[in-house]
Amino acid sequence: MEFTLLIVALPLLLFFVLGLGGSRMQPRVAGIIGTLGMGTAAALSYAAAIRYFFAEGKVEGVFREIIPYSVEWLRFTDKLHIDLGILLDPISVMMLVVITTVSLMVHLYSLGYMRGERGFQRYYALLSLFSFSMLGLVVATNIFQMYIFWELVGVSSYSLIGFYYAKPSAVSASKKAFIVTRFADLGFLIGILVLSYYTGTFDFAALNGDKAQLVVSHTAGASFMGISIASWAMALIFMGGAGKSAMFPLHIWLPDAMEGPTPVSALIHAATMVVAGVFLVARLFPVYYFAAPDVLTMIGYVGAFTALFAAVIAITQTDIKRVLAFSTISQIAYMMVALGVSGYGDHEGLGYMASMFHLFTHAFFKALLFLGAGSVIHAVHSNEMGDMGNLRKYMPITHITFLIACLSIAGIPPFSGFFSKDEILAASLHHDKLLFFVLWVVAGLTAFYMFRLYFNIFWGKAKTYDGHHRPHESPLVMSLPLMLLALLSCGAGFTAFSQLVSSNGAPFHTHIEWEVAALGVAVALLGIALATKLYMRGGELPTLIAAAMGRFYRAALRKFYMDELWLFVTRKVIFRFISTPIARFDRRVIDGSMDGVGWVATRLAAAVKPFQNGKVQWYAFVFVLGAAAVAIWALCL
C-alpha cells in the first residue's frame, strides 16, 4: 500500500508547480494540470479503498490499521517525536475517497465557474494546497501530525476564503475564520500537551490501543478542579474540533466564510474541512469513550444544541449560501451527536458508524448543494433569494440535481441522507430520549428550510428576467460534476457501511428500524409540505408569519446576535480593554520609567549645574570659605 503516499504527495507537488510556475502558464493549462493531478489522486484513492476494504485490510474478520509509510520528522525527547506517516484504517480510507472525490468535482467545476477570474492559477495552487493538507490530516499517524495538517488546513482555508482579497468583506471573513479556529486550536494544542505529558506519546495507535488503557492508567487519580485530567485533555482537544467543525459558540466564522468562491465553500466548508472535528473525535473515539466519557456526553449535548440552533437560523436567512452554511453546521452537529451517543464495539457502536456514514453521504449531497447554488449564482449574479425564482425553466440540470440533494438532506428514502440520518436517530433513541427528540425536530426543520430554499430559487413568483441578464444553464464542465454528485447522492446510501466502518473495526449488521424511519420520514414530509404550502407559489404568508413571530424572528435573522457578541469580544474587550491599555501601559509606564531614569539624571545635572557657573570670583569665594572652614575645624580640634 506504499502508493498511498502518492495520494498525499501529488497535491503538494501540484501546489509547488502551480504556485511557483503558475503565473507563467495559461490559466486554462494550470486548471487542467490541477484537475488531472487531482484525478490521479482520486483514482489512487479508489484503488487504495478497494485494496484496503476487500483485500488487505481485514485480518481475522477485523479491519486493522496499516501504516505503509512513516518517517521521523522532528524529535522532541526520546519518547515524544513527530512522525509523518500514513495510517490506513476504515475511516481514513473512507475520508481519502470522500476528499479526493469532492476535490476532483470542485476542480472540474471551477474550470467553468472561475473562468476569467484574476488569479486563476493561484486559485488552483491553493486548492491543491488545501487538498494536500486535508489528505495529510486524515492519514495522520499521530496527533501532532494531525495538528500540523490541521494548521495547514486552516491557512489554506484562510487564503481561499480571502481569495477575492480586494473585497473588504472577504478579507474580514477570512481573518475571522482564521482567528476563531486559531483560538480553538489553542485548546487543541494545550490538550495535546497535557495528553502527551501524561502518556508520553503522540501516537494514535498507542493512545487508542487496548481500550485506551494507556490514557486511563497514566491519568488515573489526577484531577483538576474536580474533573479528571483525562477529561480536561480530551475536552480541550474537542475544543479544537469544535472550532473547525463550527460547533456553538465557535461556529461564527462559518457563515462569513461564504465570502469565498462558491466551489471553495463546497469543498472546504461543506464536505471536508468542517468535518475535521468529527473526524478528530472519531479518531480518538476509544480514548473519549474509555477515559473521558463525561466529555463524550458533553459532545452529544453541544452537538444537539448546535443542530437546533443552526437549523432555526437557517430558516430565516435569505442569502442562499448562508442557508447552506447554517445547514452544514446543523448537519455536522448531527454527526457530533451521533458520536456523543455512541458506545464501543459492534452494535453498541452504532452511533460511531452512523456518524461516519452521515459524514460520507453528507459530503456528497452538501457539495452538490453548494455547487448547485454556485451554478445559480453564476447565472443570476446574486446570492439573494429575492433575486431568484422560477429558475427551473432556465436551468433544468441544476434544478433536478438540486432537488435530489434537497430530498437527500431532508432524509427521504431512497436517497442517501435517509439511511445515514436514520442510523443516527436510531442510535440516539437507544441512548438518550432528549437528544433523540431534538434531532427529530431538527430533521423536520431541515426538510423545511431546504425546501424553502429550493422553492424560492426554482419556483415562486413568476419572475421575469430581462433579455440581457437572462439566466442560462451552466456549461458542461460545471453541470457534469453536478450530475456525478447527484448520482452519488442517490447511490451512496446503499453502501453496506457497517460492514466497512465500525468503532472497533469488526463489521456488524444493521437493519433499518422501521419505527424510527417512519417517524423521521413523517416529520421530513411535514416540513416539505409546509414549505410547499408557503413558498411554492410565493405569496404573503411567510412575511405574515415572520411578523407574528416578532422578536424571535428578528433574533434568528440576526443569528441570535452571535456576530455582535464576536465584535464585542474582539473590538471592545480585546482591543479596547486589553491591548490598548497594555500598549498605553508600555508607552507610559514602562517606557516612561526608562525615560524617567534619563529625566532624573538630567534634573540632577541641572541641580548641580549652578555650581559650575563660570564666575571665577565665585569659585574663589567658595574656595576661601572652604579653606576657612577647614582652618576653623582644624583649630577646634
Binding site: F144, I148, L152, A166, V171, R182, I582, A583, D586
Partner: protein, 488 residues
C-alpha cells in the same frame, strides 16, 4: 590559522578596503563579495564542524587560544559548538541579505556596518569572557551611529535610548563577568576552564541575576525592552534586520552560554523570577502588537514576544526546551529580518509605515506582498515554515517540566499564538488586501532585483528549516548535552 578567526578578519578586511575606495560600484562589489565570502565561510565551517564532531567528543571544537594580555589572563580564545555554528550561519545569512537591503547607502554606512559585523561574529566565536565582552561592546557602538545618522523619525532620541539602555545592561554584565573571574580564583577567563571551576553558591546568587539581566536587556527582557520599539522604528532597514535578527540573539545566546551554563545552581534556584518576567514578555509583547499602527512597532513588539519565548525556553532548563530556544533564535532571526527587509521596501516606496494609510498593496506589488504574507505566516507558526517547529519544540519541551508552576506558565505562554495570529492577520488584511486607499500608491513599483535577492534568500532558509527541522534540532540537542549534564 584557525578558520574561526576568518569570521573577524573578513569583515575587518572589508572595512579597510572601504577606506580605499570611493565610487559606488566598488563599494557594492566589496560588500557583496565580502558578504558572500562570509556565507561561504559559514558553509565551510558547518562541514568542518560536522566532520570534527564525528571524530571528537569535546564540547567545543576548533579551539584556538592566543594570550593577549598576560597579567590579567586575557586571552583571545575561540571555539565553537553546534549552537555557535548555527548562530554564525544565521549572522552570515543576515549580513549577506542586509547588504542587498541597504543597496543605496553611502560608504560610511557600510564601514559601520562592517564594524557591527565584526562585533557580532566575534561574539559568537569567543569562548573567553573578556573577548566576548569586548566584541559585545564593538557590536553596540556602531548601532548608535547607524541609527543616529541614517535612521528616520526620532532617530537621535532612539539611538541614544537604545545605546544607553544596552550600555547599562553591559555594566551589569561587566560586574557579573568580573564576579565570575574573581570568585573562581582569578586565574582564567576561558569558559572551558570556568566550567570546571565552581562558583560558590552564595556568589552565584548575585552573579547570575547580574549576567542574566545584562544579556537579558539585549534579549528584550520585560521590563527592559523599551529600547526595542523605538530603536527598530528609527533604524535603517538593514540595521533593523541585523539588530532584530542577530543582535537580539546575542542576548539569548549570552544568557545561555554564560549565565545558565556557568551558574547552574543559581539558575535552578532563581529561574522562576525570570520565568515570570519572560512569560510576561511573551504574552504582553503579542498583546501590545495588536493595537500598534506603525509597521515597525508591530514588528518590534512581536520581537519582544518571540525573543521572550527564547529566554523563557532557556530557563526551562531541559534539553527539549533549550533546543527549542535555539531554534526559535534562528527562526526569529530569519523571519524578523525578512519582515524588516520588506517593511523597508514598502516604506521606501510609500513613505509611510502607518497601516491605516495603506491598502491593497497585493495588487500593486505582488512579489513583495507575497513575501510579506509568507513572513507573516512564518511568524504565526504555519507548519512547513520555521516558526512552527521552533515554537512547538519550546512548548512541548517546556510542558515536560515536572513542576506544575512551569506547566501553567507554559499554557499561559501558548496563549500568545492567538494574539500573534490577530496582529499578523490584521496587518496583512490592512496593508495588503482590500482596495487601494491612496491613489499615489498605484504607480509604485514592485521589488527591484537586489531586494528580491534579500527576500528570496531569507525565505529559502525559513522554508528549509521548517521542512527539515531535524537537521537543525539534532545539531543543537547534541551540543546541549554537556550543558544539560552540568545542569542536572
Amino acid at each position: 590559522m584557525n578558520i574561526l578567526s576568518f569570521f573577524v578578519i573578513v569583515p575587518l578586511a572589508m572595512l579597510l578596503l572601504l577606506f580605499a575606495v570611493r565610487n559606488v560600484a566598488q563599494i557594492r562589489t566589496i560588500m557583496v563579495v565580502g558578504a558572500s565570502a562570509l556565507v561561504g565561510l559559514a558553509a565551510v565551517l558547518a562541514v568542518v564542524f560536522l566532520q570534527q564532531r564525528a571524530a571528537s567528543p569535546e564540547a567545543m571544537l576548533l579551539v584556538a587560544d592566543t594570550v593577549w594580555y598576560p597579567s590579567l589572563n586575557i586571552h583571545y580564545a575561540v571555539g565553537v559548538d553546534g549552537i555557535s555554528v548555527l548562530m554564525l550561519a544565521l549572522a552570515a545569512i543576515i549580513v549577506f541579505t542586509g547588504v542587498f537591503s541597504s543597496w543605496n547607502m553611502p560608504r560610511e554606512y557600510f564601514m559601520w556596518y562592517c564594524l557591527l559585523s565584526i562585533g557580532v561574529f566575534g561574539f559568537f566565536i569567543s569562548i573567553d569572557l573578556f573577548t566576548m565582552f569586548l566584541f559585545y561592546e564593538v557590536a553596540l557602538i556602531p548601532m548608535y551611529l547607524l541609527i543616529g545618522v541614517w535612521g528616520t523619525g526620532r532617530k537621535e532620541y532612539s539611538a541614544m535610548k537604545l545605546t544607553l539602555m544596552l550600555m547599562a545592561g553591559s555594566a551589569f554584565l561587566l560586574v557579573g563577568i568580573l564576579g565570575i573571574y574573581f570568585t573562581t580564583g582569578g586565574s582564567s577567563m576561558n569558559m572551558l576552564e570556568l566550567a570546571k571551576a565552581h562558583i560558590p553558591i552564595l556568589h552565584q546568587y548575585w552573579i547570575f541575576p547580574a549576567t542574566f539581566l545584562g544579556f537579558g536587556v539585549l534579549g528584550a527582557l520585560f521590563p527592559f525592552h523599551t529600547w526595542s520599539p523605538d530603536g527598530h522604528a528609527s533604524a535603517p532597514t538593514a540595521v533593523s534586520m541585523l539588530h532584530a535578527g542577530v543582535l537580539m540573539k546575542l542576548g539569548g545566546y549570552g544568557c545561555f552560554r554564560v549565565a545558565i551554563s556557568l551558574m547552574p545552581e543559581a539558575a535552578h534556584e532563581l529561574a522562576w523570577i525570570f520565568l515570570i518576567l519572560t512569560g510576561i514578555s511573551v504574552v504582553y509583547g503579542a498583546l501590545s502588537a495588536v493595537v500598534q499602527t506603525d509597521l515597525k512597532y508591530i514588528n518590534a513588539y512581536s520581537s519582544v514576544s518571540h525573543c521572550g519565548l527564547v529566554l523563557f525556553a532557556i530557563l526551562m532548563l531541559n534539553q527539549t526546551a533549550m533546543t527549542g530556544a535555539v531554534m526559535q533564535m534562528l527562526s526569529h532571526g530569519l523571519m524578523t529580518a525578512l519582515f524588516f527587509a520588506l517593511i523597508g521596501l514598502i516604506y521606501g516606496r510609500t513613505h509611510t509605515r502607518d497601516i491605516r494609510e495603506m491598502g491593497g498593496l497585493m495588487k500593486i506589488m505582488p512579489f513583495a506582498s507575497v513575501c510579506y504574507v509568507i513572513a507573516g505566516l512564518a511568524s504565526l507558526g504555519l507548519p512547513g515554515l520555521s516558526g512552527f517547529v521552533a515554537e512547538m519544540t519550546v512548548f512541548v519541551g517546556a510542558f515536560q517540566h515536572s513542576d506544575t508552576f512551569h506547566r501553567v506558565l507554559t499554557i499561559a505562554a501558548t496563549c500568545s499564538i492567538v494574539a500573534t495570529a490577530v496582529y499578523i492577520l490584521r496587518t496583512i488584511g490592512k496593508i495588503l488586501y482590500g482596495p487601494v486607499h491612496n491613489e499615489h500608491h498605484l504607480h509604485l513599483t514592485d521589488a527591484t532585483w537586489y531586494e528580491r535577492v534579500s527576500a528570496v534568500g531569507l525565505i529559502i532558509f525559513i522554508t528549509l528549516m521548517g521542512m527539515f527541522p531535524s537537521v537543525v534540532s539534532d545539531i543543537i540537542s547534541q551540543s546541549l548535552e554537556p550543558i544539560i549534564a552540568r545542569l542536572m
